[in-house]
C-alpha cells in the first residue's frame, strides 16, 4: 500500500514543503482554498474601507453577515443547477425570467385563487403554492430541455428565447400588477425574524452538521479500507473534521449573534403578553429558513453530482458526449432531465425570492441569469464543459453577493457597482485560467 502511494506521484518526485504535504494529505481543493481566501479578503476589504471612509466598518457585523446569507440563497440554489448545465456544455439564459413567471403564477395562485376555495390564511395554502411553483418551474425547464435535446435547437437560442418569452409572460399573467402580500406562512420561507429557526434550533442544526461531517469522513475511510486502498493519514482526517466543524459552528455563532430588531421584539412581547425586562429582550435570529434550504440543496446536489449515476453521466457527457453515447448513455434524455432539474431549482428560488419580498412582481429575478452564470463560472465551472463543483458555485454566489451588498453598504453608487461586478467576473476567470495552466 505504501508502495502504491509512493509510485502514484509519478516520476520527478520533488521534496515537498509542509504546506504542500498538508494539502496533499488532506486532499483539500487548492483552488477552493484560494477562493475562500479571496472571499475573506473581500470581506475584510469592505470592513476596512468602511472604517476609513465612513467611520464604521458595517460589513463584518452579525447583522450584515446574516443578511448576506439570506440574500445569497436564491442565486446559490440556481447556481447549483447551472453547474450541471454548463458541465454538459449547455447554457441557461432564461433562469431569471423563469423565476419571474413562476413567482407571478405562485402569487396569483396563493392570493387570487386558493383563498377563494380554502379561505384566507388556510394552513395548506403555502404547501400547495410551493408544490405548484416547483411543478411550474420543472415543467418550463423540461419543455426547454425537450427543445434542446430532441429538437436539437442550441440551448443558447432556446433559453435566449425563453429569457424574453417568460419575462413577457410574467407581465402578462397579471397585466403588470404587483401581487402582495403573499400568504403569511409562505412569507416565512423568505427569512426574517419569524422565518428563522432561533437560538436552540440553530445549535441543534449545527451539531447535527458536525456529526454528519464526522460520519461522512469515517464512512469514506471505511469504504476505502474495505479494499485496502491507500488512506489519508488519520491526523489529516481529524484536521478536516475539525475545520469543517469549526466553520459550521462559526456560522451558528454569527446567526445567533444577530438579535431581533427592537420593534419586532416589542410586537412579539405584546402578542405573547410578556413584559419587556430592563435592557430589552435579546432574541436570536439563528439560521434563516432560506439559508437552510440553500444548504440542503447544496448537500443534495453535491450528493447527486458525485454519488449517483445521474451525476456521473452529467460529467461523462461533459467530458466527451460521443463517448457517453457509445457507452450506452441516453444523452438526450439526460439533457432533458438536467434542464428539468434546473427548472425545479428555479422553482425553489422563485419561492425564496417572492417570499422574501412578500410579493410577486413581474420584474422579479431580472438579471438573475447573469449573476447565476457569473457565480457558477467564478466557482470554477469551465464553460468548455466537463469541469465544475457544486460547492464552488455556492462559494461563487457568496462572492458575488458579498461584492454587491458590500458596495451598497460602503455607499458606491449603482453605476460603479455594475462596473465592479463585471470587472471582477472577468478578472476572476482570468486568474483561474492562469491557475489551471500552472497546475498542468
Amino acid at each position: 500500500m505504501n508502495q502504491m502511494t509512493q509510485s502514484s506521484a509519478g516520476p520527478g518526485l520533488v521534496e515537498e514543503g509542509p504546506v504542500k504535504r498538508f494539502l496533499r494529505a488532506t486532499e483539500i481543493d487548492t483552488r477552493m482554498l484560494g477562493m475562500f481566501f479571496a472571499l475573506l479578503l473581500i470581506w475584510i476589504g469592505f470592513e476596512v474601507y468602511g472604517i476609513v471612509y465612513n467611520g464604521n466598518g458595517a460589513f463584518l457585523t452579525y447583522r450584515n453577515l446574516w443578511n448576506l446569507s439570506v440574500q445569497t440563497s436564491s442565486i446559490a440554489v440556481m447556481a447549483t443547477g447551472m453547474v450541471l448545465i454548463i458541465v454538459t456544455r449547455h447554457i441557461d439564459l432564461s433562469v431569471g425570467s423563469v423565476l419571474g413567471i413562476t413567482a407571478m403564477l405562485m402569487g396569483v395562485f396563493q392570493v387570487w385563487i386558493l383563498p377563494k376555495y380554502l379561505g384566507l390564511g388556510h394552513p395548506m395554502i403555502w404547501v400547495l403554492t410551493v408544490l405548484f411553483g416547483l411543478a411550474v418551474g420543472t415543467a418550463i425547464g423540461a419543455f426547454q430541455g425537450v427543445l434542446i435535446a430532441y429538437m436539437q435547437i442550441p440551448s443558447f437560442i432556446v433559453t435566449l428565447g425563453g429569457l424574453l418569452v417568460w419575462r413577457g409572460a410574467a407581465w402578462w399573467v397579471a397585466r403588470g400588477e404587483t401581487i402582495s402580500p403573499v400568504d403569511a406562512n409562505f412569507a416565512l420561507i423568505g427569512g426574517g425574524p419569524y422565518g428563522s429557526i432561533g437560538y436552540w434550533g440553530t445549535w441543534f442544526v449545527a451539531v447535527i452538521g458536525c456529526v454528519a461531517v464526522a460520519l461522512m469522513l469515517a464512512s469514506g475511510r471505511r469504504q476505502r479500507a474495505r479494499f485496502g486502498f491507500p488512506l489519508r493519514p488519520v491526523w489529516a482526517e481529524v484536521v478536516l473534521a475539525a475545520i469543517s466543524s469549526a466553520l459550521i459552528l462559526a456560522a451558528a455563532v454569527i446567526a445567533n449573534g444577530y438579535y431581533w430588531p427592537i420593534g419586532i421584539v416589542k410586537q412579539y412581547a405584546a402578542a405573547k403578553n410578556i413584559t419587556l425586562p430592563e435592557g430589552g429582550l435579546e432574541i436570536s435570529h439563528g439560521f434563516a429558513i432560506p439559508v437552510l434550504i440553500a444548504a440542503f440543496v447544496c448537500i443534495a446536489m453535491t450528493f447527486m453530482a458525485t454519488r449517483t449515476r445521474f451525476g456521473r453521466y452529467v460529467f461523462a457527457i461533459g467530458g466527451n458526449p460521443e463517448a457517453a453515447e457509445l457507452a450506452g448513455i441516453n444523452t438526450k434524455r439526460m439533457t432533458m432531465m438536467i434542464f428539468a432539474l434546473m427548472g425545479f431549482l428555479v422553482g425553489i428560488s422563485a419561492t425564496i425570492s417572492s417570499a422574501r419580498l412578500n410579493s410577486a412582481t413581474n420584474a422579479l429575478g431580472q438579471f438573475d441569469e447573469l449573476y447565476v452564470i457569473a457565480a457558477t463560472v467564478i466557482g470554477g465551472t469551465s464553460l468548455a464543459g466537463g469541469l465544475g463543483t457544486i460547492y464552488g458555485a455556492m462559494l461563487g454566489a457568496v462572492v458575488m453577493q458579498s461584492l454587491q451588498s458590500g458596495m451598497v453598504l460602503v455607499g458606491f453608487d449603482s453605476a460603479v457597482q455594475q462596473m465592479v461586478v463585471g470587472g471582477v467576473l472577468v478578472v476572476a476567470v482570468w486568474l483561474d485560467t492562469i491557475y489551471q495552466r500552472r497546475v498542468k
Binding site: 502504491m4 509510485s7 502514484s8 509519478g10 469504504q223 476505502r224 474495505r226 479494499f227 486502498f229 450528493f303 458525485t306 454519488r307 449517483t308 449515476r309 456521473r312 460529467f315 461523462a316 457527457i317 461533459g318 467530458g319 466527451n320 460521443e322 463517448a323 457517453a324 453515447e325 457509445l326 457507452a327 450506452g328 448513455i329 466537463g386 469541469l387
Partner: protein
C-alpha cells in the same frame, strides 16, 4: 455471399457467432458500406483490412450499434438480432474498442471502465471503491505498471489511455470483441501484450474482429481476413491460404488471389 462461411466452415458445421449479411449504409449519397457480408466464429480472430475510407470502421460501428444501418441483417448465433443503439449491442455481449478510444477525458479510469454500467451500493449510490478495486484488478492484468487510478484519463499517456479502453471491453465478459486499431498508440512492448491478450481471449472462445492498417499484425493474430475497398467486400481468405503480398493486392487493387473467396467488390480482371 454466405458461401464464404459455408466453404470455410462446412467441415465444422458450427453456426457463426456473428453474421453480418448484406449490410449497407449511405451518408448523403456516398455508399460508405455497400452490401457487405462478414462472419465470425467463436474463438476466431477475423482481420478487417482496407484503406482509409474503405468502410471497415463504419461496418463495425453498425454492429456495435453506433450507426443505424440502411439495409441488411445482423445474425447472432444464427438468430436475427435487433441492434439499434450501443446498449442493444452490449446486451448481446458485443464490446468495442474504438479507434478514438471513446473515453470521457475528465473522469478517472474506473469511472470510464464502468461508464454506463456502474456498480452500485445497496442504497443505489455509486460504489466507487468497488469499481476502483475491479479497475485495479483488470488493469493489473493488462498494464501492471499502471498506478494512476485517481487521475482523469486526460492526464494519462496514449498507451495508458489505450489500455483503459481495452480493459473496458474485456471487463464485462464480452462474447464478441471489436477492436478498431487497438495498438495504434502503443509501444512495441504494449503491442505484444495486446497480442498475448488476443490469443488468451481466443482460447476463452471469444470472437474478435480486428481492424488494422498493419498487415503484419493482422497476419500474426488473425485466422481469416476480410478485405474491403470503397465500401465493398473484395474477398475473404484464411491467413494460411494467402501471402501478405496477395492481401496487399486485394487492399490496393481489389484483386482477389486464388486462395481467397471473392466478394462483390473484387475487381473483374
Amino acid at each position: 455471399m454466405n458461401a464464404t462461411a459455408e466453404q470455410i466452415h462446412s467441415e465444422t458445421g458450427k453456426t457463426p457467432l456473428v453474421e453480418l449479411r448484406d449490410i449497407s449504409i449511405a451518408f448523403g449519397g456516398i455508399k460508405a458500406v455497400d452490401h457487405a457480408s462478414v462472419d465470425l466464429y467463436p474463438g476466431e480472430v477475423v482481420g478487417l483490412l482496407g484503406h482509409n475510407g474503405a468502410g471497415k470502421s463504419t461496418l463495425i460501428k453498425i454492429l456495435s450499434g453506433a450507426y443505424p444501418r440502411d439495409g441488411g441483417q445482423i445474425m447472432i448465433n444464427g438468430e436475427e438480432a435487433v441492434i439499434n443503439n450501443p446498449r442493444d449491442a452490449k446486451a448481446y455481449g458485443i464490446e468495442t474498442i474504438y479507434q478514438t478510444l471513446a473515453l470521457a477525458d475528465n473522469v478517472d479510469a474506473a469511472a470510464n471502465l464502468f461508464l454506463g454500467r456502474e456498480l452500485l451500493t445497496p442504497w443505489g449510490t455509486l460504489d466507487d471503491a468497488a469499481m476502483e478495486a475491479a479497475a485495479r484488478k483488470v488493469m493489473g492484468r493488462l498494464n501492471p505498471n499502471f498506478r494512476r487510478f485517481k487521475e482523469p484519463v486526460k492526464a494519462l499517456s496514449g498507451g495508458q489511455r489505450q489500455s483503459v479502453a481495452i480493459a473496458r471491453a474485456i471487463l464485462f465478459n464480452a462474447r464478441i470483441l471489436i477492436m478498431d486499431e487497438p495498438t495504434a498508440a502503443l509501444g512495441p512492448q504494449e503491442t505484444a501484450q495486446v497480442g498475448e491478450l488476443i490469443k488468451q481471449l481466443k482460447k476463452e472462445g471469444i470472437g474478435i474482429f480486428l481492424i488494422s492498417h498493419d498487415i503484419h499484425d493482422v497476419f500474426d493474430l488473425a485466422d481469416r481476413v476480410t478485405v474491403m475497398k470503397n465500401g465493398q467486400v473484395v474477398g475473404h481468405a484464411k491467413t494460411t491460404d494467402v501471402t501478405k503480398d496477395e492481401v496487399l493486392g486485394m487492399i490496393i487493387l481489389g484483386k482477389c488471389p486464388p486462395g481467397a473467396t471473392p466478394g462483390p467488390g473484387a475487381a473483374r480482371l
